[in-house]
Each structure stands twice: as C-alpha cells, then as structure tokens.
Symmetry: D3
Subunit: 161 residues, 6 copies
Amino acid sequence: MAGIAIYPGSFDPITNGHVDVIQRGALLFDELVVAVGNNPGKRGYWFDLEQRTDLVKTCCAKLDNVRVIAFSGLMVHAAQNNGANVILRGLRALSDFELEFRNGLANRDLSGLETLFILTEPQNIFVASSLVREIAQNRGDVSRYVPAAVNRAIAEKLGAP
Amino acid sequence: MAGIAIYPGSFDPITNGHVDVIQRGALLFDELVVAVGNNPGKRGYWFDLEQRTDLVKTCCAKLDNVRVIAFSGLMVHAAQNNGANVILRGLRALSDFELEFRNGLANRDLSGLETLFILTEPQNIFVASSLVREIAQNRGDVSRYVPAAVNRAIAEKLGAP
Amino acid sequence: MAGIAIYPGSFDPITNGHVDVIQRGALLFDELVVAVGNNPGKRGYWFDLEQRTDLVKTCCAKLDNVRVIAFSGLMVHAAQNNGANVILRGLRALSDFELEFRNGLANRDLSGLETLFILTEPQNIFVASSLVREIAQNRGDVSRYVPAAVNRAIAEKLGAP
Amino acid sequence: MAGIAIYPGSFDPITNGHVDVIQRGALLFDELVVAVGNNPGKRGYWFDLEQRTDLVKTCCAKLDNVRVIAFSGLMVHAAQNNGANVILRGLRALSDFELEFRNGLANRDLSGLETLFILTEPQNIFVASSLVREIAQNRGDVSRYVPAAVNRAIAEKLGAP
Amino acid sequence: MAGIAIYPGSFDPITNGHVDVIQRGALLFDELVVAVGNNPGKRGYWFDLEQRTDLVKTCCAKLDNVRVIAFSGLMVHAAQNNGANVILRGLRALSDFELEFRNGLANRDLSGLETLFILTEPQNIFVASSLVREIAQNRGDVSRYVPAAVNRAIAEKLGAP
Amino acid sequence: MAGIAIYPGSFDPITNGHVDVIQRGALLFDELVVAVGNNPGKRGYWFDLEQRTDLVKTCCAKLDNVRVIAFSGLMVHAAQNNGANVILRGLRALSDFELEFRNGLANRDLSGLETLFILTEPQNIFVASSLVREIAQNRGDVSRYVPAAVNRAIAEKLGAP
C-alpha cells in the first residue's frame, strides 16, 4: 500500500514482538515511521530516550522503508510532522484492547488520523517490555524475547552479576 | 493508501455500524471490496444472500471506490479472486476481539493476507445485526440502527403488524 | 426507594441467583415486577412459559411487593404496560457484561427507561439456568442451585432415572 | 424514585462522562449526593480536593437535587453520614467491571448499602479523567471531553504554553 | 506427580492444541485418562463418538500412560469410575475462562474433584475444533492445526472436492 | 498426588483467599512450598518481607505438609532450590488471567516448570491483598477477609485510631 504509517511506542526496550510488527508493517506501507516517545506523565524509564531510540534504529537497520524518530508531546503531532496518514498499532492480548480503543478514538478526535491494528504473531502474544524488565532485573535470561543488540545493552546496563 | 482491501461479513442485514466502517475504509484504500458471505456452517439467515447483497449495494451506491460482491466458501479465496491485498475488519466491543484474532491468524495462515482492524465509532459500538433482528422480530423500531433502505426492507419482510 | 422496577428474564428455570436478585431488588423499590419472557428468536425452552411463570410465582410467594407476569414481544412494552419506571438486572460474571450493556442501551433508545444493575452474591456468580439444565439433563444433583420447588419440578420432568 | 443516592469518585477532573451520569442519576432519585474523595493510598492528584470539589459544584449548579460534598476515609461512612441509602456508579467499558464488582461487594459487606450501576452513554465510554490529564499535559485540546469550566481550569493550571 | 488425571472434551476433532495438553499432562501425572464425551444437550457432532474416540486413540498411541475412554452422562461420574483424583483442563484464550471457571466449580460441587488448569502453548492459543471444522467445511487446508491422522479422516469425510 | 508444588506470592498480607488455595493445594501434593517474595521492581510493601513471611507461617502452622520460605530474585530459582516440580497458582477473577498466562509461559521458558492453576472459592473471588490494604488504611473492618492473626497485625500496625 502507498502511504506513510507511524508506529508509536515507548520501546523500553524494543522486543521481538515490536520487531515482528515493524517487519510486517513495513510490507504494508510505503514508509513506516517508528516513533519512540517520552510520556511526561510516566515515572522513570529503564532506558533513556536516546538509548531506546538507538536500540530501535539498530534493530531496524536492514529495513529500507523504516525511519526511526524520537518524539515528546502528543504523538499525533509527531505523526503530522512526519507526514503520516495513518497510525499503526499491534494488537496482542486482550489487556491491550480497551486502552488501544480509547487512544485510537482520542487520536482520531485530535487529528483525524485513523489507527489501523495489526495482529501480533501468537508466539509474541505475551512478550512485553515490562516482562523483559522484570526478568532481566532479577538476572534471568531474556534472550528469547529481545533482539541480540538489546540483550547486550541489558547485560551492559546490569553489569557483572 | 493504494491497494485493495476486502471487508467481509454476513450483513444480515447491513447496519449503520457497517456503513461507518465502509465509509471510513473507502478513504483509506484505492478500492474497498465489500464481500457478502454465505457460511455453510450457519443455520438460517434472516435475509437470503441476494437480498443481503442488494441492500449492501444500495447503501454503498454513492461510494465510488466501493465494490460489492457475494461469495461462498473460504473468504480468503474471494479476497484473492478479487485482487485484495489486505483484509479490513471493524473492531467494536470486546466480545469481537478473540474471534477476530482467531480468524485473522487463520486467514494469514491460509493466504498470507494480513488483517487490518479499524475502530468503530462509539455510537455504533453496540449496533449489531443480531440486535436489529431481535428488535425487529418483536416489532420494535430499528430505524436508529440501519440505513433507510434496510428499514424499508425489514418492514416489507415483516408485513403489516 | 419509591418506584416500580421490572426484572425481566427467561427463568428457564429460576435459580438461586435469580431469587437473590429478586429478594434484594424487592428491598430497593416499592414494587418489583418479575417478567417471564418468551423470546421468539430462541429455539426451544426447557420449561414452557406457563411452567416457568408458575415456578417464579412459587418462589416469590412470600415477597409482598413482588408481582410476577408473563410477556412476549418487546420487554420494554411489558415494562410500560406494567407501570415500571426502571429496569433491574443482575450482573454476574464478565460474560454478561457486553450483552447487558447492548440491551440496556437499546432499551433506553426504545423506551427511555434506564437499566439499573445490581451485583449478584459471589456464591451465585456461576449459577445460571444453562448450568442447571446441563447438570440435570445428565441426572446430576442441582439442589444447590435452585429452590426446592424447582428441584421437584425438574425431578418430575425427568421422571424416574 | 424516592431515596438518596451517593455517587462517589475522585473527579480529577470531572468529565462529560461524569456529568452524564449525574444528570441521569438526578432523574432517578430524590437526591443525588456527589461525593469527591481523597484516597490516602493514591499518589498525587492533579487537582487538589478543594479544586476538584469546586469544579464539580460548578458543573452541577443547575441541578436542584444534586448536593456536592468532599470526603476522606471510607466512602461508605460518607454515604451513611449523608443519609444515602444506595450507591450509584456508572459502568463504562469492560475494564471498570471487575474493580467495580469488587468495590460494590466490599461496600455491601462494610455497610449493607447496595450499589446500583447505570450505563454511560456510548459517546462517553472512553472519556476518563486519566485521558483528559494525559492529553492536557501534552498541550492537546480536551474541550470535547470536559465541561467549559474544567477546560478553563486546566488552561489556567497549565499557564501559557 | 503420582495420581490419575482425567482430561475431558468432545474432541470433534482432536487438534494439535489438545495433543499439546495431553503430552504435557502425561508428564505430570502417573496416568492421564483422555475422556471423549457425548453432551446430550448439544446438537450434532461432526464426527460421531466412535470416530472421535478412535482418532484420539490414534494420536495418543505412543504415550504409555495415556488411556482413552468414551463417556456419556456427567463427566464427574466418568472421572470417578476411572479412578481419577483430579480433572485436567487446558486454558487457552480468555473466552474459555468463565465457562471453565463455572464448570470447575460445578464439578467440585458435584464430586469433590478439583480441576487443575494447564497453559496451552502460544502457537496453539487460537487452534480450536470449531476453527478446524469451519475451514475444512469450506475446503481449506487444516493440516497446520491437526495431527496427520485427523487430516486424513477429514479428507475422507469430505470426499473428493 | 506426589510431588512438590511451589505457591509464590507477595502475601501483603495473606488473605482468606490465599489460605483457601493453600489448604486445597496441600491436599493435592506431597508438599506445598509457600514462597513469599520480594519483587525488586515494586515500590514499597505494606508489611516487610519478614512480617509477611511470619504471618504466612502463623496461618499455615497446622498444615503438616506446608513449608513457608522467603525469596528474592527469580521465583523459578526459588522453585528449583526447594525441589518444586510444579508451580501452583490460584485463579480468581478475569483480571488475573492474562498476567498469570504471561507469567506461566515465561516461567516455563525460564525453567521448564509447568504452572497448574486451581480455582478460588467464589466467596473469595474478590478478596485481594490490595482490597484489604485499602479498607484497613481507611480504618474499615477487614476481619471478613483475613485470618485473625493478620487482623491483629493490621490493628497493631495502624495503632489506636
């Protein structure tokens, strides 16, 4: 399909589930803008905005029509500033559903942009950044859930045990 | 966006919720194929396939890039036969979610076609063909939930009270 | 509270969960009209309308401000014909939620009547007429889930094992 | 209906969804007590208790049988101190359901007071104080979701951009 | 673990999701009784009880501590007649949850037997007999979802296209 | 059943719902290890690890095959260090479901240990440590929800009103 889609998230850190959505989204649109956000209402990210953005860039380096940006403020402004004409989101398990619905309607109210939802692969249904953080902070192995570059960044962040 | 999307359903009958998805979907794709299906496993439709298809055609007559077809058998075959490169579905309330997820993954397995989900307008969240049938069969007024042509077809079907 | 509430259902058969809602609803309103319905779209009841209504009457005999009626057609018409100014429904588990929401909004559209929902006692959360029918049809003991009169009616219906 | 209902919440800030419940609740009861609470376990409100209460009062000024109070401690004590004989809550989307169920049963255990749930208008289903705070803190327009007085209070709170 | 578990279902037909639960359950218990049931309240199975039982037997032939039985009537009676001291069920997606909860509590009421739930592999989360039937009846390929013996039985049942 | 099960949680504090799971779990396994955890990612427990562990020990004192331990770090390491060959969890309401599913699959990935879920008694479905904390911090009576020893510990912690 022609058109530019924006795929926003906090990517703290990017997981195999995110990569799955990015790879499949890149096949559907002329360009996919992966937008790494800073939510001012949120207390404390694990990785800072620069690190999160760099890791996303590393994981998307081979995808020609994917562009990675960082943003703060309203996501729909980042969408408009980057020429996106649709928002892309991955749907995983049910717990996402209502928040995604709420955000999708609010974003349409704020900007006129529609949100299109794509399905996550079943094996990634339960892979979430929060799960990765919990296991890694307890010194567990997260290499099944994240790209190799993220696994190395986590090991470096946590230092020698 | 360029590309052809297929929007399948049984449309028994088409409601304002369906029309909402069709109108907004038509803005997102070069062409939207509305595909009215006959599910062999289902017991008894209220309107037959020809009537359902005709009502959808009437309701979409003013939308230039919408084409209405009838199909039986696997939906993904109808999608492929009509050149669709993506499946469009509306997401309403939560009860849709798991069935849509299941069907979306199965359709990807069967055909490689992705399903993109679009949000229904909140005022249409609870508008469903089953609700329309229930109220109409009890001689209640369904004019809030269906296009005028459908309302007339229902009145005709039910005859004078 | 003053006012007349209608508590509609198919009561096929009435369970301890229904009785719980009726007893507590009767304390909240001047009068509670328990309305036993025949849904024309439904295939086959276990007990017929007269039996279902009689069993509800038996179970509510000691509640002075409870009146039991049978109805067919739209429930809101029965509500209006019986002077109800509000609809009462019990909320059990989650699976009820969306259907109740849909019906509540449709009934407000059709009649202006609001629906008020009351919580079911936890021990009755999973007690449903469908469960009673399934167990009884397999000759299991349902005496935990239904009033004694219903248990006798079921035994009589099923005959000697 | 006769009787006094209490409608508790944190109203941080009051939204069009709350106003919808208050207006419809006021038609159902002799008096509706809107109770603005301070939950000691909660970290940081956006507006303080006095501001939240004043905004609710402003938004309810034209409703004769609505009284607005502030409370801290257990809500059921506020209910009893204000003569309420029932608790009123709005049901929106599914995510509310289990928490409301839990609170409703606990409040019945603590006080004997029943909770009655009323349906939110579909267009308000996704309107929540948390959504308003998120958008406003990112300098987005929330005028669709809150009464004019709240919109002004937010603009004042956030100052010139 | 020592002990005999019963794993009941209608297996119409047995899928890879069922096989996954059986294989993993067989590792947890001394003996696993797979119980193929006939629910008198259900309208029409796709395969009859004998065919369903034979297919389950074929798929479990290499599992030494798995025994396959057919039953009708109450499942807990089959459990007791076969010496089971616990019921095993697989949990897939959310839609199973409430029905499983209801049945689990009812079975405890009826027999004192606890139900233990095991998680389905993510790739099997959306694999259900109903999906297999729908696709196969439309002449789609179900070989991803069922063991080879089931695939052959379906082809035979449907005959040449 | 033979075998050692681990039942992990934060037990802040232990409730009647936990005790119900422990009592029934103790009947199913040779030994049940109740494991009281410290999650490093969590902000602030109400009772510290020693108090929580002591209260669990007090409440399980009469159960011969129940052993209580405290742990930090990954739960699956505690499981392996204590010889557990299965993880036991109670399933309450729906809100637990997805988190439990996610954790169960992650724990299988990390350790090969399966999680078995047991149903909570309906009367305990809405009893949660968070509810107990909320009510107690507002000086409400929680004696319906916790064992007597916990009730005394809470009274002591909160001091004279």
